[in-house]
Every structure is written in C-alpha cells, then in structure tokens.
Symmetry: C2
DNA sequence: TGTGTGACGGAATACGATTTCCGTGCAGGT
DNA sequence: ACCTGCACGGAAATCGTATTCCGTCACACA
C-alpha cells in the first residue's frame, strides 16, 4: 500500500479520520472517545468530553455509519422503492415518505423500479442487504407476474429478520398496506358526473393487469351502472399508463368519433392531461366540446385549462402515513386512504346543449 | 437478550442469516463461503460453490452491506441531495442521477434539504458518514449565507478522504459543477421576445440571494438592454421561488396595472404557470391579453394552455451527467449545460394589436 | 519413489465502531 | 486506619465480512 502512513502530505488524499485518530489526538482511549461522542450511559469527565469533541472537530471526524451499524446491530436508514420519481404521483409520495423518515432521524435510500416488476424484485433483494429499519414500496403492482411469489419471499425473509414493510396500493400482498380507495373514488366520480347530466362516457385506461388502472375503471363502471348507465365498448380504450398513453387514447377516441361522448375519464391525471392536449389540438375545447376527468389530483391539475375534474388523493400525507405505519411497532393491516371527488371546469355543469 | 439462540422457533423472529450460518449449512468454512459467493480470484471447487449457493438460497441469505463496506473499505452507494423532490425540476434531475447511479451499480440515498441551507449542511455532514462513493447536490445556493464556508469545509474533508463531489448549478463553490447557462438562456429569450415585437416586460423573480433567480433575471435584463429595452422597476416583482410565489407575483402585477405589459417573464416554469392561472382568473387570457414566459421547460409546460414559452434545460440528462462527472476519475471543473429558447403559444407572434 | 507445484480449505487478522468487563484511584463513613 | 463504593479510564470482545497466510493433499514429473 502506498500513501497509507508516510507522514502527513499536506492536503493530499488521506484516509478519513477514525475514532482511533480522534482518541489519540485527544489523549484518551478509544472507548472513552466513543463514550464522549455519543453520550452513553457511562459518565465521562467533562474535561475529556471537551477534548474529544475538540479533536473530532479539528480532524473533521465523521463516524463511519457502516461500522456503527455493525457494532450496534441496527442501521439508521429506511428504504423507499418507487416506480418513477419523475411522475408527480410518485414524487409527492416520495416527498411525504422522506419527510416522515427524516422526522424519525432516518436517512432514506431511494430506488427506482422503472415500472418493472423484475427490477423491483432485484432492488428489494439488494435493499435487504442494507438492513434498513423499514422498506416502503410504492408501485403499481402488476397482477399475475411470476415475480410476485419471489417478492413475497424476499419481504417475508426481511420481516422475519426484524424488518418492517409497508406497501402503498398493492392490497393483494400479505403486508401492511396503505390502500387508496380507487374503486370507491371512481364510483363516486361516475355518480357525480351522472348527476351533472352526463350520459355518454369514454374510459381511457391502462392494462387490467395494473391493479390501480383496473380498480379505477371497474369502480367507474360500477358507478355508472348504479346510475343506470354503461360504457360502449368502442369507447373503452386501453393504452399505456402514462401521459403519452393518455394522448394516444384521445387520438384513438377521435378516430372512432367522439361527437356523442360527454366525458372522457382517464384513469389518472397525467393521462387525462395528455388527452386534453390532444383534444384541443384537434379543435375540441375540453370542458366545452368534450368533458375530461382524471384521478389523483396532482399539483398541476388546477393549473391546466380548464382545471381538471378528478379524484383527490392526499399523496404527501399518504407517503408520510406509509413511513409511519412501517416504523410503528404494531401491525396495521390494511389502512384505507379516503379519496374525494373534485369537480372542476373540465366537466361542465351540464353537458353541451342539444343533447338529450 | 431474549430469543437470540434458544432453538429455531418455527417462523418467529430470527436474526438474519450470516455468512457463518451459510458456511455451516454448507459444511465449509466461512472463508470458503465468502469466496464461493463473490467469486474471488481464488478458485473454489465447483461442488462447494454449488453447496454454498444452495445453502445461501435456502437460508435466504443476503450479505450485510455494512459489513462488506467495512471489510472492503468502500461502499456501493452514491448520495443525492435535492431541495424538494416534489418539484418537477428536481424530480427530473433526481431521475437522471438515479439512472446513472444504478447503471454504475450503485444504490442511491436521497435526502431533501427543503430549500434550507442549514438543513443541507446538516445532511451533507450526516451523509459523509455513509462514505458514499459520490455526493451530488442539486439545490439553489443562497448567496452569502454563513453556512457556505462550513459546507465547503465538509465537502473538502469528504473529498480529501477520497470522495467525489458534483454540484448542479452552484458555480461559486470550488467543486466540479454542472452549470446551467441561466444568464445566456434568459438573455436569448429576451432577444427572441424583442424580435417578436414585444416591448414592455414584467419580471417575476425570487430573491436575488438565490443565484438561479438572480442570474436569470440579470440575463433577461441584459438581453433587453441589448435590444434597447428596459424593465420598469414597477414591473419587477420579488416573490418566493415557487408556484404560489408566481401566483402572488401575478396578483401584485395586476394590482399595479398590466395594460401596458406585453410579456411577463417568470424565472421558472412553475412560477409562470402559477401566474398564468391568476391572470386567467382575473379575466386576462394568457397568450392573448398578456404574454407569459418561464424557464426550465418542465414536462407540463406543453400541457398548459397556452403552451408555455420557456428556456429548455435537459434536466434528466443533466442529472445523468452530474452523476457521471462525480464518478469519473478526473476532475471536470465546470461543465456548461446549454439551454435552448422554446417559443410557444404563451407569447404570441406579435403583441396584441393597438400597441406601438 | 522422491519432489516440486498447483489447487484448495481453514485459521487468523483486519475493518471501525460499541459495549462489557475489569482495574484503579479517590472520597467518605466508621 | 481500613473498608466500601463510586467515578472513570482502558483493555478486550463483538458485530459480519473480506482477505492474507499457512498447511495439506493430490498429482505430475523425473
């Protein structure tokens, strides 16, 4: 090894100061330095405490968290897995999760599964090695993937070893889960729209294998049924679960003719916003020529024109709650997160004139 | 201690399997197990490799990353500090940073500084203890805070110990920095708007102590000057650097009278979007009655109505570049990230009729 | 058959902390 | 003056893993 201990070469690369260095600089033992720095139950003479602190500051000492983790047998990190941070839905959740973690004095390590169940599994595997205090997973579970069993195994092993798990919106896994009332929210939205006088609907949705998409669509159809309405299969359009998917859905709808459609419901806001842009580009004014509704109430839903009718989820609070559930001592089971219909200008009070 | 080793209680809480357990189960020493699992230069008989792997799988073994970090003397994590994930600007950067880190096989730990320099400093201090391979900081440096010197100390200590640092958009700190051409972009935007025939401008900006805000405003004024124009001090409005700040700025502007204003330039897109909403609520159609321009080109800039004129920053690529710079062996100094003016419908081709 | 050599397993040590255990010195009580 | 107990410092064990070093065994070669 070169450069390990051939005198202090001014500002050259040095290995970080260890507790040992601090102790030597302060003229005390190892153990005393440790006790002085993290105030154990043992008392250390005030003078020594001061000298240790001074030495630590002077050497720029920062305790090696990994070493602490080993010695203490527990870490001070929490892990978060999201599908995509660059999506307002997940970034709001991530903000909440991080907030709660930091409030509990934990560092959060975040991983992005890029909407891939395989990657998600791989991430959880690797995360487990970190021995985080808790793992929170926010993602769109894909039904019927063969990674499901493996993911359960992995998380079970983690929990058996004392870890805590909280899931967001994946109610078919056997762990504490924060469930968004997707079905109920969509159902109430449908009822509210029917109440407004709308009669003909289109649904722009993702694959049914994505639980969230499936539940919202099913809830919406349920609500319509309750109001004595249905959706013409021609107007039920499956596209990717993203903004561009929403745009594609709108284009498909235009191709099939939308004269009769009162409101197009997209199963999330970003899809709805993508659809609105396409409608507008095609010469249809959203909110006047065609109604549009979404789900989530992301931040930009109010800044879009017309403001988007949607179903509000308290995303940030949801994230906080998830971390708190994960950190709590007792199992929480399934926690229902209520949703709230928010009617805005994208669905006019009455359907366009000249309709039944 | 209870439950440490009183026999295997079925599914009860167990400590995680260690390498030692695996070795015992496989009937080899743990040196051999270690070699079998992470394929060292030493060869291990194929039969033993197989048995170790089988035992590991059966026990659900996952190596203790902290222990590895200590033994190897280096970790496999990278750290990211952002001001606020729940802001499209930062979340796009975070997505890029994470992408690049994962490509390099690193786990990323993310912390949120909540736009507070104090918190940022505290975070860096704590992060240093993690011994990450690199630290990337994306934030709006506040000029003249007394935490500056301490932050430099902390990062210098980190670098001296072999860590790598990359900063995004904080060109006055002595570390590798990815610099957005805020001044140039804003200047070219001003020129482009002048070219379109606009003459009277308002600027909605944040505090000058926020470098980004300052530079964009200064660049914009420079561009106007170059075109022989100025901004009436009455139309230069300082507000918080957020969406609601932008909205407040628009309200202030309305209060001062905006009949003469051709274009209101807000120093970032979220502020611009907040302002547009306020203008519209006041009965002024953005893009027709008053032009609006922003900066960043966040995703929703195209979905807003009218689509927002702005200055595009390749945010995701910026994040990737930052992590790559941090991970590279040689110092990069200052890397300029080019910006590009994007004219959209929020600034009409010609100012409203009836004007000079 | 003796010997050099390569393959491979295991004991021991290192990594940077925390924590237990032991020993010392000093104060106070009788 | 002696014993007890407390305050405190330091040596050593410990955590889980990587790695160096040493020893053994088998095989090939002369």
């Amino acid at each position: 090894m070169i450069g390990v201990n051939e005198g202090p070469p001014a500002n050259a690369r040095r290995r970080p100061a260890t507790l040992h260095d601090v102790a030597r600089a302060a003229g005390v033992s190892y153990a005393t330095a440790s006790r002085a720095l993290n105030g154990s139950d043992r008392t250390v003479r005030a003078e020594n405490v001061a000298r240790v602190h001074a030495a630590a500051a002077q050497l720029g000492y920062s305790p090696h968290l990994s070493a602490q983790a080993i010695a203490r047998g527990s870490t001070s990190t929490a892990a978060l897995v999201v599908s995509d941070v660059d999506d307002p839905y997940f970034s709001s959740i991530a903000a909440g999760v991080t907030e709660a973690a930091e409030a509990a004095g934990l560092i959060v390590t975040m991983a992005i599964a890029d909407r891939s169940p395989d990657l998600e599994l791989q991430i959880v595997r690797s995360l487990r090695g970190q021995r985080p205090r808790a793992i929170v997973i926010a993602g769109s579970r894909i039904a019927g993937t063969e990674t499901r069993a493996e993911l359960i195994d992995e998380l079970t092993a983690y929990r058996t070893a004392g870890g805590r798990v909280a899931l967001i919106s994946q109610h078919d896994l056997p762990f504490d889960t924060l469930c968004i009332d997707n079905h109920g929210g969509a159902r109430r939205l449908a009822l509210a729209l029917a109440e407004q006088g709308h009669r003909t609907f289109a649904v722009i949705h993702g694959s049914d294998s994505i639980r969230t998409s499936h539940d919202r669509r099913a809830g919406f159809l349920d609500g319509l049924r309750q109001a004595g309405l249905t959706v013409d299969p021609r107007y039920s359009i499956e596209v990717p679960f993203t903004r561009d998917g929403g745009a594609a859905g709108a284009r498909a709808l235009l191709a099939r003719g939308v004269e009769e459609v009162d409101v197009a419901f997209a199963v999330n806001d970003t899809m709805a916003i993508g659809a609105m842009t396409v409608f507008r580009d095609a010469g249809l004014t959203p909110g006047a020529d065609i109604g549009v509704a979404g789900f989530d109430d992301i931040g930009s839903a109010v800044d879009v024109v017309p403001a988007l009718t949607t179903v509000r989820i308290p995303l940030r609070e949801l994230g906080q709650a998830a971390m708190r559930v994960a950190l709590a001592d007792d199992a929480a089971g399934i926690v229902q997160i209520p949703t709230e219909v928010v009617l805005r200008d994208s669905t006019p009070l009455r359907p366009r004139p000249g309709r039944s």
